[in-house]
Amino acid sequence: MRRIHARLAAPAAALALLLAAGCTSGTGTGSSSAGASSGGEKEQLTLAFETDVYGWDPSNQPGYQNWQAEAVWDQLVFCDANGKLTPGLADTFEITDQNKTIKAHIREGVKFSDGTPADSAAVAASFEFVKSSGGATNDYKGIKIDTPDAQNISISWPTPQPVLASKACNPKIAPAAWLKAKKFDVPVGSGPYVLDTAATTTGSVYTFTKNENHWNAANYPYKKLVVKVFANPAAAVAAMRTGQVDAGLVNQSDVASIKGSGLEVKLFQGQTTRLLLTDHLGKKVPALGNLKVRQAINMVFDKDAMAKNLYQGNAEPTPQVFRKGTDAYIDGMQDPYPFDVDKAKQLMADAGYPDGFSLELPTIAGQNFETLMPYVTEQLAKINIKAKQVPLSGANAIGDLLSGKYPVVLWQLGNLGNSALQIYIESTPEGWWDLEHQPDKYVDSRWEQLGTADAATSKKLQQEINQYQVDQAWFAPMVYTGTNFAYKADKVAIPTESDQEALTPKLRDFK
């Protein structure tokens, strides 16, 4: 009997500890971002992050929701919500030489977290690094860098760059020696925060302490930044509802329960739901080479009903893919393809496809396809287009989607604040979302002119491209939509939206 008692002692002790913990813990593990400390500073900002960090290789950092990278690294210049340059490590800068060169003056006295100076040599090394490493090497092909002294730098591309601003504001600035060593276990930068490795558990919680010497420290009111990883959206919602985190992205289906828990939800309309009809020449699917077929596809979607029913009102019908207020956006554009299935059928018959045709539509889990795809395939079937869904998954999913194998893709693709960048990505043969990479004289010639255009001409050219794409039905735009960002309004303010992707607030937007 005594032996049995002894065997039971360990689990009994474990149980006792667990029960005691329940009695004493309460919800004390919540974030402690409540109070503002003296001098307008706040104690802690705790954010929910829906995937783990991508490591600390500065050449391989996604732009979307990447608060960790924003925390630890400065950039030479920053891009604002419209893609316009604002000061960064450089306090002054100018774009010269017909959009081929950016000249910048680097702030004096800035140091990296390892104590080395953040000077022109470090900026040069950082640009050289992205030229040879990571996924954006093509953007920096052929650049020449001149550093006349420690504070001045000039970076030149071989040809005029329509999106030079975006290329200038991407590289993270890090010390040359650190980049050369390529040991990226702990980030070294001159950003507004420094990673606290002792309080960080990789894959779970990343803790940063404020860099009080940062040149823009006043813009970052929180003394401590904590980013918690939630691979499961339900876990993130539970953490928000119990006060463990202050802010984070939530799914549309969770918006009501989040609001019921006293949090605010801000809709970022950074996406335009659309079908991409990129086989304009009909090389993969001959029918898509016919304008009337592409126009017919545009006319089978009831955009108003989609916004109201599929998106529960959190969407806005649109006939164009570009964001409102951007250079390419055309004010007052009437929908040239209003919902009219009968007319769509007539267009298909006129094009010689009264019996329709077949195509494959790729799907990837977690892209809202559960709601959208049934409607899209059903509407296409009304003009006898038989859409077969092809599920894509794993590491290959995005690569397969962009491979050109599928000339028609349904996607909630970004509408960028910098519409020239959006044209580059979606409509030029080099663009990764121009899936078939087919040349087009009208668009390509205007793209070339954009390289040397002044602001007014640039706007005119971009709107011409937009109008042309609408006339040629390169897309079947449906609605503006985006992401839902929940936050504790009594602790966190988000007065600005400076992300040109408009999907989450930037770190600099949290007040």
Binding site: L18, V205, A395, N396, G399
Partner: protein
């Protein structure tokens, strides 16, 4: 006995090689896909090809596997393709979380399933019927559903326990325990339901043996018969049930760690598998196999020690 255990050990090594090679094979041939995912959407075909070579994914399957195995034997499990994090370091952080979760769940499962199984077998009647109904329910409801219900009631509604997250015992022992209460409970219900049934069946079987009747006829108290003889003789099948439960808990931890945002090995395995992060996947698979083999081995040792017949083999 030692020969039997040595055979088991050799068998375990063979299983380890077969499973790791099979896992490696399943991820083979996806070099460009992985490289594209590592570099991002805008990567050019040239950059993708260069990355394939850099990661060593252009080599034949057997060469890659032997290379991995050779390094693994020397304790070098490589680095994540995506984050560059050392696999050994990631596992060192994650394995203790998962082990804490499943070891506590297993210990509690052992306690509750023995108590419930023995009580049901000995008492019979409505106690037994109730246990059976509860067991069926406990087994039928998936752990993640129980987990969501626990979070809603005990974390969101009553605010008794934290909804998510993990606190290291180095930081706070009470915080550590609090962070494990709900995940352990979610795992525990199904595990106890299954194991208690096994114990009940085993005890009933032992109770029907002639020697139990003889002991009772000799006037030995029922309490002593149960605790000294029946329980000991029912222990071997129970131990087998518990070792299987441990393995099931390991599988269940993958989902439970997601629901509670615990930085354990299950979460790492799931995330790595989705993006074909070969070194991370291989690291988590290796540790999982080792845990399973160790549990099986210890189970065999336990059964051998408890069962005189097994000792003679």
């Amino acid at each position: 006995m030692w020969l039997s255990l040595a055979k088991n050990l050799l068998r375990s090594l063979a299983v380890l090689l077969v499973v790791t090679f099979a896992t490696f094979s399943l991820m083979f041939g996806n070099g460009p896909g992985i490289a594209k995912a590592v570099l991002g959407l805008s990567a050019t075909p040239e950059a993708v090809q260069a990355e394939v070579v850099k990661l060593g994914l252009d080599r034949p399957l057997v060469v890659q596997y032997v290379d991995w195995l050779g390094h693994a034997v020397r304790g070098d499990l490589g680095r994540s393709f995506y984050t560059g994090e050392s696999v050994s370091s990631a596992l060192a952080n994650r394995v203790p979380v998962t082990l804490a979760l499943i070891v506590i769940a297993l210990l509690l499962t052992a306690v509750f399933s023995v108590i419930l199984g023995v009580t049901a077998a000995v008492r019979g009647g409505w106690v037994d019927r109730t246990l059976q109904i509860v067991s069926v329910l406990g087994t039928a409801v998936p752990a993640f559903i129980i987990a969501i219900a626990l979070v809603f009631i005990l974390a969101i509604r009553w605010k008794v326990f934290p909804a998510t997250g993990y606190v290291s015992p180095d930081v706070s022992l009470v915080g550590w325990a609090a962070s494990l209460v709900l995940p352990v409970t979610a795992l525990l219900i199904g595990a106890v339901a299954g194991a208690a049934q096994q114990f009940r069946t085993s005890v009933l079987d032992t109770l029907s043996r002639d020697y139990v009747r003889t002991l009772r006829a000799r006037g030995i108290s029922e309490r002593e018969v149960i605790l000294r003889n029946v329980l000991r003789n029912s222990a071997a099948p129970g131990l087998t049930a518990l070792s299987l439960t441990m393995i099931a808990l390991l599988g269940g931890a993958v989902f439970i760690e997601q629901v509670f945002a615990l930085p354990g090995m299950g979460q790492l395995a799931n995330a790595s598998a989705q993006i074909n992060d070969v070194p991370m996947v291989m690291g988590t698979v290796l540790v999982t196999i080792v845990i399973v083999l160790v549990v099986n081995f210890l189970g065999d040792v336990g059964i051998t020690l408890l069962n005189p017949k097994a000792r003679k083999r």
